[in-house]
Subunit: 340 residues, 4 copies
Amino acid sequence: MTGVAIVGASGYASRELIRILLNHPGAEIRVATSRQDDSPRVDALHPSLAGRIDLACEPFDADRLAERARVAFLALPHTASMAVVASLRERNVRVIDLSADYRLTDAQIYADWYGHTHTDAVGLKEAVYGLPELYRESIPPAGLIANPGCYTSTSILALAPLIRENLVERTGIVIDAKSGVSGAGRSPKLSTHFPECNESFSAYNVGKHRHTPEIDQVLTDVGCAQGDPVEVIFTPHLVPMDRGIFATIYATPRGPVVEHDLLDLYRSFYKQSPFVRVVSHLPATKESAFTNYCDITVRVVRGKVVVLACLDNLIKGASGVAVQNFNLMFGHPETTGLAL
Amino acid sequence: MTGVAIVGASGYASRELIRILLNHPGAEIRVATSRQDDSPRVDALHPSLAGRIDLACEPFDADRLAERARVAFLALPHTASMAVVASLRERNVRVIDLSADYRLTDAQIYADWYGHTHTDAVGLKEAVYGLPELYRESIPPAGLIANPGCYTSTSILALAPLIRENLVERTGIVIDAKSGVSGAGRSPKLSTHFPECNESFSAYNVGKHRHTPEIDQVLTDVGCAQGDPVEVIFTPHLVPMDRGIFATIYATPRGPVVEHDLLDLYRSFYKQSPFVRVVSHLPATKESAFTNYCDITVRVVRGKVVVLACLDNLIKGASGVAVQNFNLMFGHPETTGLAL
Amino acid sequence: MTGVAIVGASGYASRELIRILLNHPGAEIRVATSRQDDSPRVDALHPSLAGRIDLACEPFDADRLAERARVAFLALPHTASMAVVASLRERNVRVIDLSADYRLTDAQIYADWYGHTHTDAVGLKEAVYGLPELYRESIPPAGLIANPGCYTSTSILALAPLIRENLVERTGIVIDAKSGVSGAGRSPKLSTHFPECNESFSAYNVGKHRHTPEIDQVLTDVGCAQGDPVEVIFTPHLVPMDRGIFATIYATPRGPVVEHDLLDLYRSFYKQSPFVRVVSHLPATKESAFTNYCDITVRVVRGKVVVLACLDNLIKGASGVAVQNFNLMFGHPETTGLAL
Amino acid sequence: MTGVAIVGASGYASRELIRILLNHPGAEIRVATSRQDDSPRVDALHPSLAGRIDLACEPFDADRLAERARVAFLALPHTASMAVVASLRERNVRVIDLSADYRLTDAQIYADWYGHTHTDAVGLKEAVYGLPELYRESIPPAGLIANPGCYTSTSILALAPLIRENLVERTGIVIDAKSGVSGAGRSPKLSTHFPECNESFSAYNVGKHRHTPEIDQVLTDVGCAQGDPVEVIFTPHLVPMDRGIFATIYATPRGPVVEHDLLDLYRSFYKQSPFVRVVSHLPATKESAFTNYCDITVRVVRGKVVVLACLDNLIKGASGVAVQNFNLMFGHPETTGLAL
């Protein structure tokens, strides 16, 4: 039984993570931290957990945490994560960081997109990108996992087979992405106020969303044998629903493509990946909601390859993949605790 | 053409009010105020009004307002309204106040339920309760209208015929009320954050909602001939929808009642009221959404009288009834501008 | 490992039941039936189950079912259940019936409310009402379980402590109930067409809902020592959300009541019941959604006892309580498979 | 006052049309038809219209219709429209057809996409495509208007300036479109059953949606001076909301483009069009919901032109544009009755 800490317990991803870990036979949540002054109980933060967890939050303290936990899941805002990682790693606590702080390998790109200087070069070097479907071999020994972004996972899983096989042009790829509102976090804002976003569909951060360089970077890495960097046009939208990300992706094939062959390629590419379902029907976010699955299909329309992919942003896009990483790091089957 | 001021232009009721007044042949919006520093344009506050109104907000200034407007609609938080009413009335500006500040005639009850001392005894005395269906005669000459609350209008219109005819017991009346989220205003809060209230139904302020004494007071007044005060058990709930209030009301008849006769009574009671529709089917909030109608029906179930009523909280529950009051005050037919 | 049959696999309750049983260590789904001609695969009926179950539906055949399954969950429309129960019982298959067919012990009341003559008097006699919180002792040996209705469970769990302790009047109890749309089943109808019920709140079947006599019957049984039958005024409403039932219940106390004492009574009453959470805050359906919990609290408002209760209609209101019953019948801990 | 007939009064577009025409000073609804046997009243079909229209539906009869109406709005399924148009035109009734029957000028393309032979070659020849922003000159004298599709209007208005100015490539244009559920009509289906589509986002008819050839045809016509046909990749999605269409469109510029200049081009292109709002912010469907506006903006992202456009599918995408056409045909200002 591995002692686990949840650092930043008040958000939605943390709530889902706690819910999953409570049913995980190899994990025990021993620490939960919060910056709230009054050390709220976890089930006061998350009434849905009433009767399921008897634990009060505490302020973050690396020493006290390290006494009880061998791994810390960080669910902190970016920049807050990099402020605590070193203290945990020094105490031999392994870290699964759900923030964006260790996803971009190039500190300059981080600075450009996030508007902050990166202050933990050591961590940045140690970090392993935690997308098991692509980096399953690197994760088990890792001390620090950069858990991928939700849009990012959807987009990368949807495009990786095409890029690795060099079937499509690497620039001009359009990722038209749609997210439920929980993707915006739990802090109330006007844009996520119910009467503003209910019964409305909108685009936001067009051309500016911070998951863009992360998608570029990982897909470029996926396709490294062929050299050219991948550069995507990424457009996020807000959908009046709680959870779910849907990406509709348009890529230009380098040569003739056949829909059936592409589906076969995807099935083969993911045959070792229990949480990617290559389906022949057009998926709907609801089919993967509350699960750790990413559902993907492919179509060819008037000469374009159209990939459609979806997942639950809070699970496969955050907490569930974090538990996949935990499983790989601590020697459990990848699916343990994730048959949701 | 009457010059109109909207004091506190940034909320939802103001947006609806502006939208209605823009099509009103007898009103011209000449002033809009906001406490925001940068004097935002009205259509920047409300992008849905783009191209429809060319006006920038200004800070509240009674003199400047009085030069241009003969009537001010106040859409301010409670206590903020009573701070400005006197300055407007002194300058002969008539006021339609959408806040709660002038609805309760007894300053002590106001203090008890709102937690503030009432500071405008003069205004309180002058104020006329602006529910045209009950006080149509008093409104035309009024200088200060206390526009009713949204739950209140629904509940009172649903119960007035029974109370006036003394058909039901005056205590123990249960008002189980349900509101869309826009009723909570436009300020983001955790409880109105989309992922919290979407796909959820909950009760709030049970036994404590401030519309309770307002309902008591007006219904007691409606039934004054019979003496006993009305005391209701009022339970508000939050529905995952934008707009609409639905009240399911349970009253104990004093004697035998027949459903059909009750429907006739309601039809007769409201036959001069163009915005009350007594229907025989069970109403749905969507049927009155975006209109100024209140839909009501009555059933008898196992000896209880069950009244079901609904309306659009932002229109019939706020801006629309305000325009009814405006029409009565300025000599227009009651329905002008309200055929939405 | 107990072989299990799902009879009528295409509905929402069946989908949830399958999802739960797939993670249940003591159950194996060996049979799924459907009246659809083409013997659809279960994951074709329910795409969310893709990759999780490899089973095709078959037509109902009691012999073939009995060869493989020791228990059948019937998720059929009323009247369809009573047409097959005898054939299963004769073959020693135990039955958990999710329809209404065996809930009402009096065939005449069934006929009055459902408009059909009851044709299985033997089954009616054998049936045990499957609400474990009240009938935990009778369920283990049962051959035929009448799984309770969703509104019914909510209402009964909310009222049972008050009735058993004889604290409230037995007539005039108001149950104002609200349900998500999945409660109406999976067959498309105009009233559950998205653009009709989204952004709308409405009442339906006022005074006529078939769960009424079921609530009366069970609560009368709960309070049998005191004699008088319970008769409730039950009003169902439709909420624009998928799942969840919320009941706001108003009862008249027979004597003085104190809120705090009532909460203690509820806690004590349910202390052996792992799936009833007596909470002190006002519950929201979302907190119990996707779980097998029923959350309850109590308030005293102007002399009335107000009980607020909610649960997930598809789980605690249907499939989850069915698995509780399965657990009790087959010797598993009541919570097995239900830590959702 | 022009006598108007609504042929096929039971759908959502008809309801909106009736609602608009009731406030139109130059129109009087004298006929409403329905295939329902019992000649339902219009306000029985649409309870929201209670108290606003006193008219019963009748079966379609060209003679009786022509006696009272000079124009008929046809809100019939495709193929049903072409079965009645000739009978109306022979009787000198002008027709605004909201179905797809007269939109495609090439009967073979109609047959290919709709799976039916076109049976009214005369009407096809007479029909004028009713998108006022592009064909304002042709509409006034028209006897038969083919009212455009909702996805189509959004897409065409968003792309017309780029195509007419020949600024973008004509193939490979990606139209990623999203629609509220009312776009699917009022007939209940599993895919539009609330619990299926609520809290879900999905794609449908990928590569096969019938609005595709309509967009191709009109944009090819818009860009006729330059010759090459336009061919779009059109992907429709279903959004869990009632109304609104949002299109995110990706086009490849033929040469360098500057965002600011593109916005200027759009403003100039639509300066005579009162219902197109070229905005600089990113639009949301809610801002144009319940209005006749189409909101459009443009961005340049990594060398692609990204156009974002939205409108209310039932108004600007159906009934509102129909009234624009009516206004142009009968000599009213284009905006009459449409200041919603």
